[in-house]
Structure formats: C-alpha cells, structure tokens
C-alpha cells in the first residue's frame, strides 16, 4: 500500500520540477522548489531514511529556500 503512495509522491516530484521550470516568477519558483524538497524529504522518510528526511527538510526546504529568497530579493524577481 505504502509503495503506491511512493509512486504518487515520485510523480509529484516530477510535477514540481516541471513547475520550477515553467514558473516565470522566481519567488514562486523558489517556493515550488521548496515543495519539491519537502516532497523529497517525505519520499526519503518513506524509504526509511529519517536522518535524511530531517536534514532535507531543514536544509533543502529551509535554508536553501531562504538563501534563494534573499538572493532574489537582492537581485531580480522576474525571469525575463
């Protein structure tokens, strides 16, 4: 049953990755990227890797996103 959930999560990963690609607003893209990271964390939790899930949630979704946001706020917000 759980493995079925995994497939949905994996497909969601692809969807968020494509979302990052198509979004023109960088602020929005970085939030979508954050969602990607969080989904990744859940996938890893599903794969019995709690250490990684914790790290990815803190670093991937947290710190990285904040760094992206601060950069965007200091530079440009629109892609084109």
């Amino acid at each position: 049953m759980l493995w079925r959930l995994d497939i949905i999560l994996l497909l969601f990963l692809v969807a968020t990755a494509l979302g990052v690609y198509v979004t023109k607003d960088l602020m929005a893209a970085s939030i979508i990227f954050s969602a990607y990271s969080l989904t990744m964390a859940i996938v890893w939790q599903q794969l019995s890797a709690p250490d990684l899930a914790l790290t990815e949630a803190a670093v991937g979704a947290g710190v990285t996103t904040v760094l992206f946001l601060i950069t965007i706020s200091k530079t440009v917000r629109r892609e084109d």
Binding site: A53, L54, T55, G62, V63, V66, I70, T71
Partner: protein, 244 residues
C-alpha cells in the same frame, strides 16, 4: 530550435540511463549486492563498534569519519568562498534590508519570533545531543540552529545579530568542526592508533568506551555549533547591504 535539440540530447541521455536502470539490481531487494557485501557488518556490529544506536550516525562519525571531516571542510570552504566574494558584514559599513525597508517588522511577528526562538534552539540542541540514538545529529541540529539565527536576523536585522554574536566568538566557532575532528583524530594518534580511531585498546574497557563517548560528543557538538554559526554567517554576508 536550440531548445529542441537540447531536449533531444537529454532524451537520449535519459534512454541511456534507462538502459542501465533496466540492468540494475531490482529496487528494494534484500538480496542485492549492496545489502550483502559491506553493509551487514555495519548492521550487525555497528552499535557495538560504531558507538551509536543510530547506525547512520555510527557510519558518519566512525566508519566514514574522514568523509564527514571532508564534509565539514566543504561547508567551511563555502563560508570562506562567500566571504571571499562578498566580504563579511561590518558594523561600520553594513546595514540590512530590514533596516532600509520603509515598513518595519510588525509587533506580532517580533513577539512570536522572540517566543519561538528559544524553542527552536532547544530543539537544535536536542537533535545534536541525541544524534546517536535517534534521527538527527550534529549537522541536522546545526542546520536547525542556523535556521534559528537566520530567522532572528531576518526579523531583527543584521545589527542586532552582530551585536549578539561578535566576531571574536564567531571566527573560532566557524572552525570548530574541523578542529574538533582534528582533536579527536589526534587523540587516536596519541594512543598509537590510526587517525580517527575511537577505541583505544591501551585503555581499560570502561575508559575506552567513556573516551569514545566523549570524542563522539565532541565531534557532534563541534559540527553542530560550527554548522549553525556558518549558516548564520553565510546568510549575514548574503543579506548585508553596503551603506552608502
């Protein structure tokens, strides 16, 4: 057109990858070579040899401690790199976006953050100290600790952050991870063992385990503190605005 060509190339790449994926050992099979060759030792002896119930922590700190030493060096390098590119914030010349923005942070936000931060730090300390028995460890805790500092800086501004954590404290703490690893490693040399050895046969049974526990703790705390401070410093460097 160019896009399409790249798309085609990458599609071919993916197909090549898939051709390898087809041949790879089936996903999740306990009989895979990855689960038979090296790992059984970690799983069977890990708690005893590695010194942590969380076998991942055991591997990180003990079996492959050298990798982790490289890892803390990488993040130290990242900090040095950021400082090389942007310089460190300075009380005299730097200010923050918060200070320059027309609307200050609202009372609600500042109050909530003030209340929240002690708990975040507490959680970070917990994560660092309990890395050997539960998920977490120096790096995870450090990241949380760093996040708390980032949070704080974001709301209260760089100047407050700089006033709270001074340069004379920050600089040594940033190097703490590498240094704690080096110290733990040299303890091994001192007892005539290889670098980063945690069990010293020269000592009595209890002393051995006690020493190992102390060394692991030293490293965990070192990593945690350094990671947190480094994240804070990187963020501060990125965020600072040169005052004109």
């Amino acid at each position: 057109m160019r896009k399409f060509l790249i798309f085609l190339c990458l599609a071919i790449c993916w197909v090549v990858f898939l051709s390898a994926v087809v041949e790879m050992p089936p996903f999740g099979d306990p009989a895979n070579i990855t689960n038979r060759h090296v790992v059984p030792r970690y799983l069977e002896e890990g708690v005893e040899e590695g010194g942590a119930s969380n076998i991942v922590t055991g591997i990180i700190l003990n079996y492959r401690g050298y990798d982790t030493m490289g890892e803390v060096t990488v993040i130290f390098t990242a900090l040095a790199g950021v400082l090389a590119v942007l310089k460190r914030e300075d009380v005299k010349t730097s200010t923050t976006m918060v200070a320059t923005s027309p609307v200050g942070p609202s009372l609600i936000v500042t109050t909530v953050v003030k209340l929240l931060i002690p708990f975040i730090v507490l959680f970070a300390v917990y994560t660092i100290l309990h890395g050997d028995v539960s998920p977490g460890g120096g790096f995870q805790g450090g990241a949380v600790f760093g996040a708390s500092m980032i949070h704080y800086t974001l709301i209260f501004g760089l100047l407050t952050y700089m006033r709270k954590i001074r340069l004379a404290v920050k600089v040594p703490l940033e190097s703490a991870a590498i240094l704690s690893f080096a110290i733990a490693g040299f303890i091994g040399l001192f007892f005539g063992q290889k670098f980063l050895t945690f069990l010293m046969p020269a000592l009595s049974h209890e002393a051995q385990y006690l020493l190992r526990h102390a060394m692991l703790l030293l490293i965990e705390v070192g990593i945690g503190v350094a990671t947190g401070i480094i994240f804070g410093s990187i963020f501060a460097s990125l965020e600072k605005v040169e005052r004109i």
